[in-house]
Every structure is written in C-alpha cells, then in structure tokens.
C-alpha cells in the first residue's frame, strides 16, 4: 500500500488529467442534476466515466466490484483533493440509494453473484436504486408491513404498496422489504428483495410535499417480479438486513452541514439582514443569543463527530453514537432554517415571485423539507428509544423498535 503523501500526489495527478475544468466549483449544480436525471452529456458524462473507470465513485469498495479498494484514510484524502480543486463525486447522487445504503449492505450480505451483478452498476453511477420500505399504514413501525411476495417458479411475485420511495420514478432497481411468510411473527417472515423497476407491473406516483415537488413516490406492485437470485441475505430474515441498512442510512445523516451551503458565515447573514448596534452586536439581542446558542450547538456537534471518529481510531464503523449524532444534526439543521426564516423577517416568508431573492425562497423550501429530517430514517423519537435502550441499557419501554 502506498503511503499517504504518495497517494495524495497520485490523486492530484489523476484529477489534473481527468477532471473537466468546466465543472470546477459546480458542486450544487452537479448534485442537483445527478439527483434527478439519468442521462448525462458532455463534460458531465465524461467526468462520470472517468470516476467510474478509476473506481472513485465508491472508492472504498473492492476493485472487483467497481470500487478502488481504498482505505478510509485514503478515501478521505481523495475527498479532500477533490474539494480542493472544486471537483465533486456525483456518482452517489446518480446511484440514488445505491452507494450509501444498498451497496454496503450487499457487500455484507450478498452472494458473490449478487455482488458481481449489482455493485458495478452502482459504483459506476449507471444504475440508480430506490428503496421500498415504508408503507402507508406503517410509518415508523416498519415491521408491520403488508406488501407480500410469493414464490412463483424462478421468481417472487410482489403485491402491495410502498410509499416514500425516493426516486422510484427514475430508478432502474429497487430494494424492497416484503413479507414472505405471513404466518410468522411481525419481524420474522420478512425478506429483502431486489427487483428491476422497468416492468409494467410496477407503477409509481410522485408525492407533492409541503415544500412543493419532491423525489418521493408512492409505488404500487401488482404481480411485480423479482428473481429468486435477488433475495438478499436469508429468506425470512430480512429484518436483520434492514436493520443494518438503516444503520447505514443513519450514518449517512449524521453530518449537520448541508451540501451547497452558503460560503458566508451564518452570523454575517444575520448581520446583513438585522444590522448591528454601535458595539457591533447584532441589533436584536434576543436573536443574537439564540444565534450564539445555535453556532455553539453546531460546533459541539462537529466536535463530537470528530471525537467519536478519533476514539474509533480511524475505524469508520456504524456506531451506536449514530443515533445521538443523527438527532443533533437534525436539530442543528432545523434550527438553522428557523433562525434564517426569523432573521430574514418578511423577506423570509415568500413562496415565489421577484419580491424575494433566491436565497430567501431557497430557505423556505429547505426549512419545510428539513422538517422531514426528524421523521424519516428513524424519527427523532425512535432515535431516543434507541439511545435509551441500546446505549444506556435502560429496559425496553412500551414503544418497541
């Protein structure tokens, strides 16, 4: 294995050769595009292909499956160097739930055949994945799902409805949690199936949210087919697969910083809108204190992320601390949106039109959509149950899960 300095220098060289300069600093645009569109063109297509070829779309995955086989410290160097030159790895966004959730779980639970068939498409950003987990009547109580799959020759036949399937309308594959044994107890008898979305037996319907259009869909299975080879893990033991998958989700949500965040320090935005007094203090002493509290909370969260990483001595593993970090990240982000709304005053209350600038309208949307952070991926309350039970060892309370 090459040492860090050598590796960094190799990455620099690779970026010089492979990153199209026209994309420099276009992080927000690339993220937006890759999140909603499959067909890329020109420099963006080239950049995806170059990333895929080097295995840098999912750099820590084995080379055999489309990754680059990097260690975590190396992957960190790669990310740092990309950021330094204004580049951005768009493959995770192109792969939907593929890189962050499905891939790591397939790596752990999948057969060699499954790994070979599914991982390269994810790592190259050519196959987008969605996840069919929640159902309309289940919510946080995932285990009460009713979508069924019955064996039918070489296939499973799926029937039922999923909701909150992010990107279902543009995904090529889906990971679905289904009931394969109705006679078993709630958490038994569940399996995790992978199936292609391009079949007439699957219909999707986009969900409009309070913030407007959304990536979410309702997804209907009407004798949809999944190959028997595409059951991940053991039959009827999908619950353990999904628990792991959700841990990966939580892990990916522990960062309070949002991509595309303003370069301006938050307190400077506040000063711009609110003004300052003769001593240079924000001209709203009440808001100033809450802003200070918020900035302290944000720093405390970041320091805790760093500390927990250091304590794990580089082992980036799915840790029990993810639940506290998910909740603090959520609070920090939600309060930031609320404070932004407040400091903008009437300008923060717009929906559309040229009386409000982009920053103002964006904040309204992200304030609203950010309310989901404490609901999805294990609600705020569910995380507290996990902390209380799994970290603190308090006895099971009435709210199971």
């Amino acid at each position: 294995m090459v040492n860090a300095t050598e590796f960094r220098s190799a990455v620099k060289g690779w970026l010089e050769e492979n990153f199209p300069l026209a994309l420099k600093g276009q992080t927000a645009m690339l993220l937006e595009l890759a999140s909603v569109q499959n067909n890329l063109e020109g420099d963006i297509l080239l950049w995806r292909q170059n990333l895929a070829q080097a295995g840098y779309g999912a750099p820590t995955w084995p080379k055999a499956y489309g990754g680059a086989g990097l260690t975590h410290p190396q992957a960190k160097i790669l990310a740092e160097e990309m950021k330094r030159v204004g580049a951005f790895n768009l493959i995770p966004a192109l792969a939907g739930m593929g890189v962050t959730m499905v891939g790591p779980t397939v790596l752990e639970y999948g057969t060699d055949d499954q790994k070979a068939r599914h991982l390269p498409g994810i790592a190259s950003g050519t196959i987008r994945w969605c996840l069919g987990l929640s159902e309309p009547s289940a919510g946080s109580d995932l285990a009460s799902l009713t979508t069924k799959a019955v064996a039918d020759g070489d296939n499973w036949l799926l029937n039922g409805q999923k909701t909150w399937t992010s990107g279902a309308d543009i995904s090529q594959w889906c990971g679905a949690l289904v009931r394969t044994d109705s006679s078993a107890k709630k958490r038994d008898g569940i399996s995790f199936l992978m199936l292609p979305m391009d079949q007439a037996e699957i219909k999707t319907r986009p969900i409009k949210l309070i913030a407007g259009a959304s990536p979410f869909c309702e997804t209907f299975f009407d004798d949809a087919k999944a190959s028997k080879d595409d059951l991940l893990g053991k039959p009827n033991e999908g619950w353990s697969v999904i628990k792991r998958l959700l841990q990966h989700e939580r892990q990916s949500q522990t960062s309070a910083s949002r991509t595309g965040s303003a370069r301006e320090a938050f307190q400077d935005t506040a000063k711009r809108y609110v003004g300052v007094d003769a001593q240079g203090r924000l001209d709203d002493a009440d808001l100033r204190i809450r802003l200070a509290n918020h900035l302290m909370d944000a720093t405390a969260h970041s320091l805790t992320v760093r500390r927990i990483r250091e304590e794990a001595r580089g082992k980036v593993e799915v840790s029990a601390a993810a639940s506290i970090l998910k909740n603090t990240a959520t609070q920090v982000a939600q309060i930031k949106s609320e404070l932004t709304l407040e400091l903008m005053g009437y300008q923060g209350l717009g929906w559309q039109g040229d009386s409000f600038n982009e920053e103002e309208l964006d904040n309204v949307r992200s304030w609203l959509s950010g309310k989901a952070m404490s609901i999805y991926g294990g609600s705020y309350e569910v995380q507290k149950n996990i902390i209380s039970k799994n970290i603190l060892g308090l006895p099971e309370n009435t709210q199971k899960g």
Partner: protein, 378 residues
C-alpha cells in the same frame, strides 16, 4: 375560553358553524390553488358582511354593532381555525381601530360606516423594511400647498392589494428612529402615485409592497395630531397584536385538535401512538401552553375593552406567548403526524406556513419580549 356572555357564546357558535360548514380549510386550499386575485373569494367577504362581522368593533352611532374586542376575538379565533381568507381582520379590526383611535368625528363619519358594511377595505401600512420596528419609519410626508406629499415605501401590507384605503404612518419631522415626528394619514388606495405589488407569500394570504411616488393628499387626510402619531401607532399596533393573537390561538387550537385526534387514532407498534408516554407528555405540554396563551390573549382583548392601564403590557405578553405556543404547536403538528404531515395533500403544511407568517406580523416573539421588558422598565 373565558366566561363568555350569552351574546359572545351565540356569536362564537354561529361563527363556528358557518365557517366549518361554508368555509372549512378545504375552501382555503381551493382558493390557494385557484390563485384568487386578492387571496380571498368575494363570496366569503360578502357572507361576513351579511352577518355584520365588519361592524363588530364599530360603535352603533357609526353603523356598527359596538360589541368590542373580546367579541371580535371570538370570531377571529374561529377564522384562525379554518384559515378562512378575507380582509376582515385587516379592515374591520386594524383599520377600524385606527380610525376609532385617531379619527376626528368627520373622519369617523366618513370611514367607519363604510368599514362596518364592508364597502371599504381600510388597511394599515406601517413597516418599511423586512422587520417590524415602528420608530424606524422614514417615509416622508412633506407639506405642500394643498396638504402633504408622500414619498417612500411600505412593506408587507396586509390585504394591500384588496384595500380601498390605506392608513399610512409617515414622517412629518425628525429622523428614522425618532418617536417624535411621525404622523398618520388616511387616503384612498388608488390615489395617483401609489403603486402596489402583490407578494406571493408561503401562507397564500394577501400582502403587498406599496410605493408612494409624489402622492398628493389633502390636509384633512391627517389622522390625529401632526408629529404626534407614534403613540397612536403604538396603540393601533397593540390592538392589531391582540387581535392577531386571537387568530393565532385559533390556528394553534385547530392544530392541537388535529394532533390530539391523530394521537388517539393512529396506531403504530400495535397501539395508538398517544399511549406512548413521551407523546402523552408532549401533548400535556402543548395543552398547558395552549391554556396559558389563551389566558393572555383573552386578558389583552378584555383590557382593551375595559380601557385598562396595562394594555400595552398585556398585548405584548399575548403576542409573545401566543407566538411561542403557535411555533411549538405547528412544529409538533408536523412531527407527530410524521410522513403524512409532510405531504401537501394533508393540511398540516398550510397551518405551519401560516404559523410563521402570523408570528412575524406586528412584531415577533423577540420583539415583544424586548418590548415587555421595556414596558416593565428593565
């Protein structure tokens, strides 16, 4: 609810049944989706006028019912529950208060009957920037031959597009920041030189930014004494705060009822979610805050009716506590409903968006906390 008089109880019951039957929140949604011109439908306003609501404050001698602020609060609360869109509050509550507090008899004769029968929509144009700071008014009202000339801008004027007349606070002396030198005027909204720009706000209510370019108005447009308008403006804003707090209690109470209902009926993990102690305690917190906020809201309106000594204090208390409760409640409305609360087809989002706008109007919680402390001299 306070110990209502028989009359107040009757008005409340009538308002509740009329609004839930004729103008439930679904109608507000339809209005939003149809993008109605003035952000309300004419039939709503006509129906309210028919019931006499625009005249609740206006004294009988000016063609109104003279029923007072607490009674109007009872109606506003029911309106807040259904988010019913109309210019009632802007004109018959705030506009009427302005004329009643500041107008001379001739002005009252001119405006109050027309407010009371709904034929005029009079609204207050006070703030000039993104935040509520009454003393910061810098709009100029300079003397000219016939009276005054207005130049400047007003922001976030409630029902500014629908208004037929404006009560404008402008500077006849002093500088922005001075309390002295502010005067009030009342003028037709279509006076030459006024241009109005509709705002598409997240709560789909009617607001406008209004600019004044060499707007000539006669001397008798002056409302109250020259240069002495600040105290009047504060008194009008006190009433506006107290009234909007009643609407806020309605919006929050409806959110509470929806949430409580959901807690009692939604099942997860094999039991109704209201049986989870953490949610039961949160509901208890919400209920407690609701009762506290209601007491403040009613006390402020009652104090105005009684012409009490501590009106300003109670109005700031009311706006602040009601705002705090509505903020907490609207966030919990979404949180407790979970995924369904995030969808546009469910009503929670409508209440959440309205909540933040109501919090901002006439001074947010921070503004009124500071003002309360100033009023208590610390």
């Amino acid at each position: 609810m306070a110990a209502l008089t028989e009359e107040q109880t009757m008005i409340r019951d009538q308002a509740r049944s009329w609004l839930t039957e004729q103008y439930p929140v679904q109608k507000f949604r339809e209005m939003r989706d149809s993008q109605a011109e003035f952000a309300f439908t004419p039939d709503t306003w006509a129906g309210m006028a028919e019931m006499g609501w625009p005249g609740i404050l206006v004294p009988e001698q000016y063609g109104g019912l003279g029923l007072g602020y607490l009674t109007f609060g009872v109606v506003l609360e029911e309106i807040g529950r259904q988010l019913t869109a109309s210019p009632l509050f802007a004109s018959a509550f705030v506009g009427a208060s302005a004329v009643m507090l500041a107008g001379n008899d001739q002005q009252k004769q001119q405006w109050l009957p027309a407010i009371a029968d709904g034929s005029q929509i009079v609204t207050l144009a006070s703030d000039e920037g993104p935040r509520h700071v009454p003393a910061a008014i810098s709009m100029q009202a300079s003397r000219n031959s016939g009276g005054f000339e207005l130049n400047g801008n007003k922001t976030f004027v409630l029902e500014g597009m629908a208004a037929s007349a404006l009560v404008v606070a402008a500077r006849t002396a002093g500088d922005a920041g001075d309390q002295q030198g502010i005067s009030l005027f009342i003028l037709a909204a279509d006076t030459d030189g006024i241009s109005r720009h509709a705002l598409a706000t997240m709560d789909s209510r009617g607001y406008a930014n209004i600019s004044f370019d060499k707007v000539s108005i006669p001397a008798d447009a002056l409302l109250g004494e020259l240069d002495q308008g600040y105290a009047l403006l504060e008194a009008i804003l006190d009433r506006a705060s107290a009234g909007i707090a009643a609407e806020m209690i309605g919006t929050a109470a409806q959110s509470f009822d929806m949430t409580l209902d959901y807690l009692k009926n939604r099942e997860q993990f094999g039991q109704v979610i209201g049986s989870f102690q953490a949610l039961g305690h949160r509901a208890a917190d919400l209920y407690t805050d609701k009762e506290m906020a209601r007491s403040c809201m009613e006390a402020a309106l009652q104090a105005i009716d009684d012409n009490g000594e501590n009106i300003a204090e109670l109005c700031s208390l009311s706006k602040c506590k009601t705002g705090d409760f509505l903020h907490f409640m609207s966030n919990q409305l979404i949180q407790i409903h979970g995924g369904i609360g995030m969808t546009d087809e469910f009503d929670a989002g409508l209440y959440l968006k309205r909540a933040r706008v109501l919090e901002s109007c006439y001074g947010n919680q921070a503004y009124h906390r500071d003002r309360y402390a100033r009023l208590l001299n610390f």
